[in-house]
């Protein structure tokens, strides 16, 4: 599988995801500079975490307007899978590849810690290695991960099964006070990650790329990358 990782001024987790991809696929992804409107054909496009353009104005807003994102939109329309992680989720959302918006965390602080996620479906190229309902542990690190969508959009997302991951208690509880406590940013319906309608675009706030080695954050993120490899080869 050939992957491309986009690099914007201010991206800073591009190395982390490149390292994870290399570890799991055995192949170093191509690093694509934001100014490159045209880049080599790849099987997967990763929009990594960071503070593109300092996260000034709105997270992801400036990066979403870059030449490379115009190309990403074209390819996404042709079905090339796109994975947006953290700032990447914000960017693909600002670019209109996913609905809704990521707002300031409800407590207004940056939060870095391990969270538990409930995998909502295994029916996607990103989640096929997980079971629906499975609980995984991966870290988050963001100040603006508070997912919001208006009622109609939200209903459509839920009805069409476009929710990929939800924050949950270690035992999988999403609802009630336990679920609320498990939600690190106040996102609506405890949403941590969503798909587009065709499930070829995934945006998520947590960092599976920082959970691929036992000594360095655990291994629960491996499934995501292995799943992609399997689906795309």
């Amino acid at each position: 599988m050939k992957a491309a990782v986009l690099v914007f001024p201010g991206s800073n987790r591009e190395g982390d995801v490149a390292q994870a991809l290399e570890l799991i696929t055995g192949r170093r992804p191509a690093m694509v500079w934001h100014g490159d409107g045209d880049f080599e054909k790849t099987d997967l496009i990763v929009v990594p975490g960071g503070f593109s353009y300092g996260d000034y104005l709105r997270c992801g807003a400036m990066a979403a307007q870059s030449p490379v994102m115009a190309e990403v939109k074209r390819r996404a329309a042709q079905g090339v899978p796109v994975l947006g992680i953290c700032n990447g989720f914000q960017i693909v959302t600002e670019a209109g590849l996913l609905p809704g918006v990521l707002m300031r965390n409800a407590h207004l602080k940056f939060v870095c810690s391990d969270v538990h996620l409930k995998v909502e479906t295994s029916q996607s190229l990103f989640t096929n290695r997980y079971q629906a309902g499975q609980v995984i542990r991966v870290p988050v690190a963001h100040a603006e991960g508070n997912y919001f969508a208006d009622a109609d959009t939200l209903k459509a997302l839920e009805d069409r099964g476009q929710i990929a991951f939800r924050y949950c208690a270690p035992d999988g509880t999403v609802d009630g006070p336990l679920g609320k406590q498990a939600n690190p940013n106040g996102s609506i319906n405890n949403i941590a990650g969503i798909f587009n309608e065709t499930k070829t675009v995934l945006g998520l706030m947590p960092h599976p790329e920082n959970a691929v080695e036992p000594m360095f954050g655990g291994t629960d993120g491996i499934g995501l990358f292995e799943g992609i490899v399997e689906a795309l080869s």
């Binding site: 104005l57 807003a61 918006v101 407590h107 919001f148 208006d150």
Partner: protein, 85 residues
């Protein structure tokens, strides 16, 4: 000329920052404060002398970058010829 842009959250969109500010003010001894909403205020210098043209361009800037029209409204004000200090 100089322009001012206000970007505010649409009605019905949750505003965590505004809410937190309201809470803090209540706690700090300002119980009279009710709803608080926080928006952005942007001042721009524009090399353009025709106000109508400037306004059209600013509208484009807002739609392209300054506001996220999914959740935000914007308003544009042209201030005049004076150079910003």
């Amino acid at each position: 000329m100089k322009a001012r842009v206000h970007v505010t959250l649409k009605n019905g969109v949750l505003d965590p920052q505004g809410k937190a500010i309201g809470h803090s003010l209540n706690r700090l001894g300002f119980p009279e404060v009710g709803d608080v909403r926080q928006g952005k205020y942007i001042e721009l210098e524009i090399a353009e002398t025709d106000a109508t043209k400037a306004k059209a361009r600013l509208d484009e800037m807002c739609r392209k970058l300054l506001a996220n029209t999914v959740i935000e409204n914007y308003s544009i004000e042209i201030v005049g010829e004076q150079a910003g200090q």
